[in-house]
């Protein structure tokens, strides 16, 4: 089966969503949408067998073969893992959204269309083997994320957050495209597999480092790495199912996917290791540190997501060390990265859903107003507890396992000798430890401040109660996975993680079973990571209990020194600057624009004519002057002068009509009946149109034009006239290539089955032109309606496009 088409299944399904929403109002549209991710999930599970053996599946759909661009679905361990996350979490999120979004109040037709577009885009990102189509899907995820964040488009915050995420991720996407093009130049192919095969030849290439940095910019902006993470907290304006899906489980992991996918190409580089591991570590610390500052439940989760993404990123960076050393310690990192990626999707997904439930059932997400919900919402509390403890890295939850492996990998970096790691490597375990302490603090902060303690005296907006069963199903399933994975980590490792590790490091392994990692909860008393965990739990608990005393410390940082302030002022300055720039030349008067256009046409054409020395006149090629021609020319000139000298608009219009008819006469004299006919009719209709519109036009005045303006206009007008005449004369006097007319004469009857070349050109030879022209004509017709019938209100300055 051509399974590349399955990437487009969600988008195709999206076509039916508005219809289902309209026609079947009684059934929540989500139930239909749910079928898509569920069936895809079931289908893709079938590939596990292939990838477990280290194999892959491939399906291709040609798109632009001449440029080497195609849609390819390349399923190996890594892409399969992501595919299953996208469809699996997608199914749970859709199920959750059915209960979260009211079918009567919400614009479900919009919501599910965006969500399905996103699903297609995301599948495309992780399955594409062609970097250009990968880029296409990548931007599509940005766009659908923009639409979903801005779903409640009447809220200022939603629009702001949507724009911010779009600005940052699309910036990164464009950088990444640059990187892809450079890679394409270096490897002479757009296929990732072929690029990986050619990778050894890239080292030392002048574009290598540049391509690396550009691709990383794409990955870092998407995965909200420091300092680009600022868009993620603002993206929390999206409905909670979206936050759970896009902004924790899938889209923000696209950057991680990219880094993992390109590891075989770039891992040999020192810059890659430092950037990926270093930025990842900084992000890990930054996110966890600032998560404690937040008071909004979803904002805490957003910062924790930033931090966890940083953790996985740094592990991927550390995994690249395996390319430089045979020490088995370094091989652990990639496994840990992939394993934590799965675990993070499970516990963070469930936590987001709980945050949504709390919001839904109490009416607020402000942690300062919440408290003591444990007895009212026992199921939600249990799920939140499981998720948070896993996030904090405590047993018996899956987060503990991957966290231990993370600490192990960070400790291992100390032993790496190359690239100055001997001096700076010690920083990695230290920062990792500090960040883990804060991770523990915010996990406790999230769950206990919401659910434990006393209810606040101030009543909540809605009287809290437990969520409906349907809403709890998805988080409970995820929480079950959180616990379940702890007990069967090696099975998950065999099915999903090891094939993915092999895909990330194809040079090191030839079969997934060679990935020599055995996940265990207990490594004995002499394992350093155990003592790291014990110590960080101790310190974390102390910090959590004294939270009230030191949380104020966050206020020391003034608002204007934050990255957000930097973004805001950058946006403000660029918007203001652009406005000023465009106001400078966009006067809102057609007159001015015509002056620009004509001046440029005349100047550029004339300059080209003389630079290329193309101005040649061959008098012999002209046809003889006849009496009719002379007479018509006189009429034409007189009519033109009348247009210029006319005192009223009416006489100017009539004179202009005369100009048109005189031109039509020329066509008659020079035997062009088609043109003559068209010109005559056009002229008639436009004069009639003018007469109809006459009463709307203001009386003719000079619009405050001075003599100098008029002189300028005269020069431009004369310039255009002279240039066009020169071009016509030169074009007629020299023929570089034989005229195409002969070809038309030869083929018009045989190939096109016609007799009138002019018409056959219109409908056949150059049918494309005609098609576009009638499209333009239709648009113009609609524009006239829009301008006149709808009468857009003219408030404020009409020149201000923003209003």
């Amino acid at each position: 089966m051509n399974f590349v088409l399955l990437i487009f299944l969600p988008i195709m399904a999206a076509l039916f969503v508005p219809l289902l929403f309209r026609k079947l109002k009684d059934i929540h549209t989500g139930w239909f949408v749910l079928l898509v991710p569920v069936s895809l999930f079931i289908y893709y599970i079938g590939f596990i067998k292939t990838t477990m053996d280290g194999g892959h599946a491939l399906s291709e759909l040609q798109w632009i073969p001449s440029l080497g661009i195609s849609f390819v679905s390349y399923i190996d361990g890594l892409s399969l893992l992501f595919t299953l996350l996208i469809t699996g979490i997608g199914a749970l999120v859709v199920l959750y959204s059915i209960f979260y979004l009211d079918k009567r109040k919400e614009k479900l037709n919009h919501f599910y269309v965006y969500l399905l577009i996103f699903m297609s885009a995301m599948l495309g990102v992780v399955q594409s083997d062609n970097v250009i189509s990968l880029y296409l899907f990548w931007e599509l995820t940005s766009i659908s994320s923009f639409l979903l964040i801005g779903y409640w488009s009447t809220r200022d915050g939603s629009r702001f957050g949507a724009l911010k995420s779009m600005m940052i991720t699309v910036f990164g996407g464009l950088m990444m495209l640059g990187g892809f093009v450079l890679l394409g130049i270096m490897g002479d192919t757009f296929s990732i597999r072929e690029l990986i095969a050619n990778a050894p030849t890239f080292v030392g290439h002048e574009y290598f480092t540049l391509a690396l940095v550009l691709v990383l910019l794409g990955a870092f902006t998407k995965s909200a790495q420091f300092p680009f993470h600022i868009w993620l907290p603002d993206a929390m304006e999206a409905p909670t199912p979206v936050s759970a899906y896009l902004h924790s489980a899938t889209m923000v992991k696209a950057g991680l996917y990219l880094v993992a996918r390109f590891t075989p190409i770039f891992a040999v580089s020192e810059v890659w290791i430092w950037l990926v591991a270093g930025i990842g570590l900084v992000t890990l610390f930054w996110g966890s540190f600032f998560a404690v500052k937040q008071t909004d439940l979803k904002a805490i989760l957003a910062f924790s997501t930033v931090s966890q993404l940083g953790l996985i990123m740094s592990l991927l960076g550390a995994g690249a060390l395996a390319y430089h050393s045979d020490d088995p310690f370094f091989k652990l990192a990639t496994f840990a990265a992939i394993f934590h990626l799965i675990n993070h999707a499970t516990f963070k997904g469930s936590l987001f859903m709980i945050a949504g439930i709390v919001d839904h059932e109490t009416g607020t997400r402000d942690i300062r107003k919440l408290g003591g919900l444990m007895s009212i919402m026992p199921v939600s509390f249990t799920v939140a507890f499981i998720g948070s403890m896993s996030m904090a890295g405590l047993p018996p939850f899956n987060g503990f396992l991957s966290k231990e492996m993370f600490l192990q990998s960070m400790l291992a970096i100390r032993h790496f000798e190359l690239f100055n790691f001997a001096t700076w490597g010690i920083l990695f375990p230290v920062i990792a430890w500090i960040a883990s302490v804060f991770t523990l603090v915010y996990s406790f902060y999230f769950v206990f401040k919401t659910f434990a303690g006393q209810q606040k005296s101030e009543p909540l907006p809605i009287k809290p109660h437990e969520a409906p069963v349907g809403m709890l199903v998805s988080p409970v399933i995820l929480a079950t996975l959180v616990v379940g994975i702890f007990f069967i980590p090696n099975l998950i490792g065999k099915w999903l993680v090891k094939p993915a590790v092999m895909a990330v490091q194809p040079d090191l392994y030839s079969h997934p079973s060679e990935v020599d990692v055995d996940v265990a909860a207990w490594h004995g008393f002499d394992a350093p990571e155990l003592w790291m965990t014990v110590s960080l739990v101790g310190v974390g608990l102390v910090l959590f209990l004294t939270l009230k005393r030191w949380q104020k410390m966050y206020d020391i940082q003034p608002e204007y020194l934050s990255l957000n302030a930097l973004y805001d002022s950058a946006m403000f300055v660029s918007e203001g600057g652009m406005n000023k720039l465009s106001r400078f030349y966009m006067t809102g008067l057609i007159r001015t624009y015509l002056i620009y256009m004509f001046a440029f046409i005349a100047a550029i054409t004339a300059a080209t004519l003389f630079i290329k020395e193309a101005f040649v006149v061959d008098m012999d090629s002209f046809s003889p002057i006849n009496l009719y021609g002379v007479l018509t020319a006189i009429v034409l000139v007189v009519a033109v002068c009348m247009v210029l000298l006319a005192k009223t608009r009416l006489s100017a219009i009539i004179a202009l009509g005369a100009v048109g008819y005189a031109v039509a006469l020329f066509f008659v004299i020079f035997k062009a009946p088609d043109l003559a006919l068209t010109q005559l009719v056009i002229e008639t209709i436009s004069v009639a149109l003018f007469l109809l519109a006459f009463k709307h036009l203001p009386s003719l005045n000079n619009h405050g034009q001075t003599k100098r303006n008029k002189l300028g206009n005269l020069i431009i007008a004369a310039g255009v006239g002279i240039t066009v005449t020169l071009v016509a004369l030169s074009a007629h006097s020299q023929k570089l290539i034989p005229s195409i007319s002969q070809y038309y004469k030869d083929t018009v009857a045989t190939e096109a089955g016609g007799g009138n070349i002019v018409n056959v050109i219109l409908v056949d030879y150059r049918g494309f032109d005609t098609l576009f022209e009638i499209a333009v004509l239709s648009i113009a017709g609609i524009a006239v309606i829009a301008m006149i019938r709808l009468k857009l209100s003219r408030k404020g300055e009409s020149t201000d496009e923003n209003k």
Binding site: P673, A688, L692, N756, I774, G781, I782
Partner: protein, 140 residues
């Protein structure tokens, strides 16, 4: 715009049909002699303009109860459909087909997909031109 010009109105009633028939003739003739969908459409639009000048907008709308915006859309779809239709026969976009048939009354006649395309052009031109004229002329 209320006019009551008996001579103009009476003449228009005849002339309109003459122009209209001529436009149809020109449209069909286009493939072999001067004419075609574009001119044909313009002529029809001209005939309608004449009606508008002789009678008022409401009378004309009653006499020609079409929504000309929809006429434009139909024309555009027809043209695009003709161009895209070739894809289904596994030939490049915009490949026309033609053949000669012997039809009753007409004798040997050429049937050409270009004519369907041209009919789309005709409708777009009529639709867009009349839409513009009606909109501008009807605005109070």
């Amino acid at each position: 715009m209320k006019t009551n010009d008996v001579i103009l109105q009476t003449t228009t009633k005849f002339v309109f049909f003459i122009i209209f028939l001529f436009s149809i003739h020109i449209f069909f003739a286009g493939h072999y002699t001067p004419g075609g969908g574009f001119v044909g459409g313009l002529l029809t639009a001209g005939a309608i303009v004449l009606l508008l000048l002789a009678f008022d907008l409401k009378t004309v709308q009653k006499a020609l109860p079409f929504n000309f915006t929809i006429v434009t859309a139909i024309g555009l779809l027809l043209s695009l459909g003709t161009a895209a239709g070739s894809i289904f026969f596994n030939v490049p976009f915009f490949t026309h087909a033609f053949d000669y048939f012997t039809l009753p009354l007409f004798g040997k006649t050429s049937l050409h997909t270009a004519m369907i395309f041209d009919a789309g052009v005709y409708l777009v031109v009529v639709g867009a031109a009349v839409t513009m004229i009606q909109t501008i002329g009807g605005d109070e």
